[in-house]
Each structure stands twice: as C-alpha cells, then as structure tokens.
Symmetry: C2
Subunit: 418 residues, 2 copies
C-alpha cells in the first residue's frame, strides 16, 4: 500500500463526512454513542483477545511494566470505556448553541452560533481506551475524527475501531466520521500533518518529543497538551495543617498524572516549622525529596535539586523543594520552570492570594486547594480530550465545547453597505 | 548587527513586558492610547516627511500606483489613524471579565477569567496606519506586541513607532510592550517564527504566499487571515430587485476589500429574467463579467470563466457568474472554491435560507444582505485586527476579545482530591 495515497483517502473521506456529521441531530449522534457503548461491552472477550496480541508483542520487545499496564484492557477497563461513552451521550449537545444574538442599528440581526470545528486529528499514546473516548467526544461535538494511536496498541485499536464504525452505520451515520490510521509507519503522521486543506486541527497527546515533532512538521493548527510541572507555594501566612494535607494530596494521591505537584515552594519564615513535619510524612510515603541549598540546611540527608530537576515532570514519587525569601521569588520560579498548567498558593492572606492568581500565568491557579482538581470532570465539564497548555482556542481542560468553533449568521432584508 | 541576537532580544523584552502590561489597569492603558493619538496628530508633518522617503524609494523601484497609494500618509489618513486609536481607548477593557463563575459540589469556587494572550507578533503589508492600529488593539487587550511591517514602509513605521514608545513611557508603561522589527531582512521573520518559547501567536496579514510561508515556518500558533473569495447565491425564490441591489453593492461599493463578492451564483429558473438586467448594470459600472457555459448562452459577449477564475480573489471590478440547477450545486460550488470568509443567499424561502446558513461553512453567512458587512465595526465589535478565516480561537472579525485568552482561578478551603 502507498501510504501517501492511503492518508490522502482518509483525509478526503473525513472532510466529506464532516459535512454530514456537522448537521446530524442530537438523537442520531446519541444513538450512535449508545450503540458504541453496548457493542464495547458485548465484544469484551474479543477485545481482550486482540489486546492479548499487543501485550504479547510488548512483552517480547521488552517494554516496561508501566507501558504494558497502560496497554492492558481488563474487564473493568472495558466497562469503564463503555461507561465513558454513555456519559458523553448524556452530556448536552453543544452544537447550535446561540452564543450571542443582537440587532445592529441598520436592522441586521447577527447570531453567533456554535458549530463543529470540522476534521480533527488525534495522535495519542498506547492507551486503547483513548480510541473510544476521543472518538466519542469528537462525534458528539459534530466533528469527523482521524485517530492515530501508539503502534504498541494497534490490534486493540483496530478491534475497537471496528465496533465504532459498525455503530455509526447502525445509527445511519457516515462510517468515515471516525477513522483509524491502521498503518504503523511514522510516515503516515508526516502526511497527515501536511493535509491542511482537509484537517482543521491536530491534537497530539503524549511525550514532549512527540508534541515537539508534531509542532515542527504540522502546517495544521496544533493544540498542545504539554507536560504538567505543577507547583504549590506555601506562603508565610499559610494554615500549615491545611498546607501539609494539600501538598501531600497533590504529590501522592496519583503521582503519575499531569496535575500532580512536582515542586513545593516554601516561604522561609515558616520553613523551619513546616518543612521537617511535612518531609517526614513524604518520606514515610516513600517520596524522594530533592531540595535547594536552604532546604538542605534544614534536611541535610536529602539530595540537592538541580536545574534539570526543577524543569522535570517526574510523574513519580519524587519532589523538589525550594525555600524562598519572598513571594516574588516563588512567582518568578513558577514563570521560569513551570509549564503553565496548574499551580497553587496556600495562604490566609487575601492580598497574596489575589496577587498570585493574577501573576501566575497558568491554565488553572488555585488558592487553598490541591492542583489535582485540574480535570474536565472536576471542573464540571464532563469528559475531556486532555488539558491544553496552549493559550489559543482552549486552555486547561478541553471538553465538548472546546471541540467546537462558531460562525456568524446574519439576517437582513436588503441591507447595503454605504 | 547580528539579526538572530537582535530578534532574540526583542522576543525576550516582549515576554518581560507582557507580564507588566497584563496587569496594567484600564486607566493607564487608556492614558497611553490617548498620548498616542495626540502625538500622532502633533507629529503629522514629520510623519509625512518620513513617509515621503518611502514614497520616493517606491517610485524609484517602480512599485505600482496601488501599492504607493496604500503606502501614502495624507493628512486625512493621519487624522484617521489618531481617531482609530482614540476609538480603541473608548472601547470597554476586555481583561478581567468573569466569563463563568460557579461552585462545585465539594465547595471549590471556579472562575473562568479573561486574560491577555501574552506576546503577539503581527506581520503586515506596507500600510503604515496598521502600525498604530495593531499596536493600539494589542495594548488595550493587555498584550505585548512585536510588529513587522512591509519593508516599503520602513521609514514611516519607524517614525510612528517612536511616537508609540514615547507614549508608553509617558503613561508609565514598559516601552517594550510595543516593539517594531527595524531590520528589513527576511531572515528576521524566520527567527521570529521559531521563538515559540516567548511568542504566543503570530497573525500574518497580506498575500496568500506570505501567509503560506509563515504557516510552514512557524512553530508558534498562527491565526490566518486568508483571502476572501465571497459568493452571493441568488435563489429561485429571491426578490429580484433586492438581489440586484445587494449583488451590485457587494461587487462595486469597494471592490478591493476581502468581503467583496467575487462570484455570483444564480438559480437557472430566474437566470433568463435576472441576468440580463443585472449584467447591464454591472457593465455600465465597468465590471468585467466572466461566466459559465449557461451564463454565456444568455450573455454571449462575455468571457468564459475558468477554474482558476473561480478560485481567484480579484479585489477588482471583475465578476464570475455561474448558473446552477439546484441550491445543492451552489453550496457545493462555495465549498469547492470559497475561502470560508463571507457568503450570502438572497431568497424569500425560509427553508432554503436556513439550509444555506447551516451548510455553508463560512465565518459569516448572510441572508438577504451584502457580504460587505463582515467587519468589526459593522458587527458592533469596534476596531479589528483583521478577519480570521481560521476556525480555531477566532473566526471572522477579530476585535479586542479575540486578542485574549482565559484562565481558571479556583478558590478552595482545603479541598483534596479523593
């Protein structure tokens, strides 16, 4: 097969399908989603059989246990996948929403109406459940989607993808509304990223290197989901009991997530009292601590943090600690090392709280709460395609509304421009 | 001067300045804008003197009269430039607007707040007035801006730019909030387009070739202002008198604008009555007509339209005419040849009107009005940076709000993720 022609056919099919799905009504889209959910549950054993092939290859090629775990489809994950799709069906349909409507002095009536984006490419790592999640979200928002999953999950993805297209056909929708790139060659991505005549946006999920490559190669707009290097600044006016609980939660509740804390910044006035107690709790929970020189003076047994450490998204039980003289230093540290994802201040002082929320330039800025809440469900949006670290179009959790655009519809009765 | 270092310094200055301008209050920003307006008026004669140098070079290098006209700063254009900046000062400040605010079941209070984008690069053609307009819009929306104008207008731009930075300083703002790239080498753009660590968005204005180059080279998100290939479809149920007036207005009122009509599509049922009358009116106004075969049968003296003609943004007194059997053909023509800018239907039939507004995928879709209204002022937004033909972030006229992003500010009292 010629990969260039293959991708060319996929993007053209997607463009055509995007026109019909854009005007599909909610009942039809929800029917397709419910078929998807049912079919996933019914096909559990065959999905697991296909998944076994991927697992076997992964074990043969010596992939890490963490990767293999993400790859694995268990009964509970299959149930979760179906449940996720059902929840997306239950969310309100964003399409057709009137965002603004007003009449101009000359009588022109202008409506700003929410419409689908069109054709979306999603590039993701080897988590087969994303195949169903991402497809369902794009479908509900009236978009055609082209999925490109990690090659390690190719058999699982193809098995899920077959269910998706069957469900679309049962609901009377164009099967090309959801397409999977079934060739695993990297070349396929290169062709996809140049198809700017047909594709409206690319959303890459995965490691920094992948996202950087996509940004460099793509002539299509990219919404980036970069890493989360999240900070909590414990202010001199913090409630120290609350600070300890929040920092512990933000680091340990699920360290492998992008909204987990990677660096704790402490005001030097409270460091001598706060640090030893919180450090003990972290160490009891097997969290490795790495500190600045001032931290090291209080905790002489820990490692020193390097510049690279402060830039690092550990996604693991490792924590940097830095002590600062004043809040400005904390804000400057976050500006330098952070990834504009989620950052928090713990304080009882309203001036510091408000200054922090204004000056820290992150998608989510918290006062007296754990950074772990940056998430579509926790923000009340429902399922999300990811957390955007970009400032254009979508910032923070990207749910259904962030998968839409708008158009102006203008009604007149003969108006001419003078 | 080493251009790479020069650009590196500019983007770093912009990033630093973006932090201070983001939290500048409205009074300060408006004061700077009013200084700019006053200073432009006061400096009229020196601006004209600098502009004369550009005009002289342009004449020597044999640039077209149209280009030289765009380049020229007259007293009335200088007055218009000052007036434009004053109007931007009078617009409401978009920054700090609470877009959403709600409390989650766990007590977390979430605010979605409008914030500046950060650092904006504007690349534009040789129209010196854009230097003041674009700078004023970005400033009011709390952004730092880097301007790169056409090299033909470099002396005019530098003269205007000096006024801008003086005004910023008088208002107590960082002069680096507005920077002009003063070197005319193309290389400077290449370095700018790779500065994704410092710049948040690039907005290119100008020809298709320039925009295409920017898209291909940039690792920074680009908001495109492509051409406007605008259509009016005169339906079989059109009020023909209204149709004639609107089509005439959309083609001739200002043919050099992106929202002028380039192709008129006519339902064949009304073509024999409508076409001769409207054609005469166009020909009397020196509009050259180019038609499809069916048009040619009715108007045998006109040129035939080629496929290239249908793709073309003439910006001139030339009009394509196409006759269609059914509305579907009109919609398909617009999908194939249009640029998703502005398209209109003239009809008294509500079903056709609604179907057209749903299925035509353009930034602005009109019923019974001229396409010439796609414009920030006409839509009630005030001044605009341009008309986006993209579907992400901003679509259609880009005013102050479209030069902003948002952040989530979350207030808690000790919430932990479970």
């Amino acid at each position: 097969m010629n990969i260039e022609n293959y991708i060319d056919q996929i993007v053209k099919n997607a463009k055509t399908a995007s026109r019909s799905i854009a005007s599909a009504n909610t009942v039809t889209k929800n029917a397709a989603l419910m078929y998807i959910a049912d079919d996933i549950l019914n096909a559990a054993s065959s999905l697991k059989a296909e998944n076994e092939k991927d697992i076997a290859t992964a074990q043969k090629t010596g992939l890490s246990e963490a990767v293999i775990d993400r790859l694995r489809l268990t009964d509970s994950r299959i149930k979760g996948m179906a449940e996720g799709v059902r929840q997306i069906a239950s969310l309100p349909d964003p399409i057709g929403e009137l965002l603004q409507g007003y009449t101009r002095p000359n009588g022109l009536h202008i409506q700003k109406i929410r419409v689908p984006i069109g054709v979306i490419v999603i590039i993701y790592e080897s988590r087969p459940n994303v195949t169903a999640d991402a497809a369902a979200l794009c479908l509900k928002a009236g978009n055609a989607v082209i999925l490109r999953g990690g090659k390690e999950s190719i058999n699982s993805n193809i098995a899920i993808y077959k269910l998706l297209t069957t469900a679309l056909e049962k609901a009377g929708l164009d099967a090309s509304c959801i397409q999977l790139v079934e060739v695993i060659e990297r070349e396929a991505i290169d062709y996809l990223l140049k198809a700017d005549q047909y594709v409206d946006v690319v959303i890459p999920r995965g490691g920094e290197a992948l996202i950087r490559t996509v940004v460099e190669k793509s002539t299509i707009p990219v919404i980036k989901h970069y890493k989360g290097v999240c900070h909590i600044y414990v202010d001199e006016f913090a409630n120290l009991r609350m600070a300890k609980e929040i920092c512990f939660n933000a680091k340990t509740q699920r360290p492998g997530t992008c909204n987990a804390m990677e660096t704790m910044i402490i005001h030097e006035k409270i460091a001598p009292t706060f640090l030893p107690a919180v450090a003990k709790e972290f160490q009891d929970a097997k969290v490795e601590l790495r500190g600045c020189n001032k931290t090291y003076n209080i905790l002489p047994t820990i490692k020193k943090a390097t510049d690279d450490d402060y830039h690092n998204e550990y996604l693991d039980l490792i924590l940097n600690i830095r002590i600062v003289d004043i809040m400005d230093e904390a804000i400057a540290h976050i500006a330098k090392y952070g990834s504009n994802h989620s950052d928090a201040i713990i304080t009882d002082n309203i001036n510091n709280a408000l200054r922090f929320t204004k000056e820290v330039d992150s998608a989510a800025v918290y006062v007296n709460a754990s950074t772990r809440f940056t998430d579509g469900y926790e923000f009340g949006m429902g399922a999300e395609i990811g957390i955007s670290t970009d400032k254009l179009h979508a910032r923070g959790p990207m749910g259904l509304e962030e998968l839409t655009s708008y158009k102006f519809v203008v009604f007149g009765n003969g108006q001419l421009r003078k």
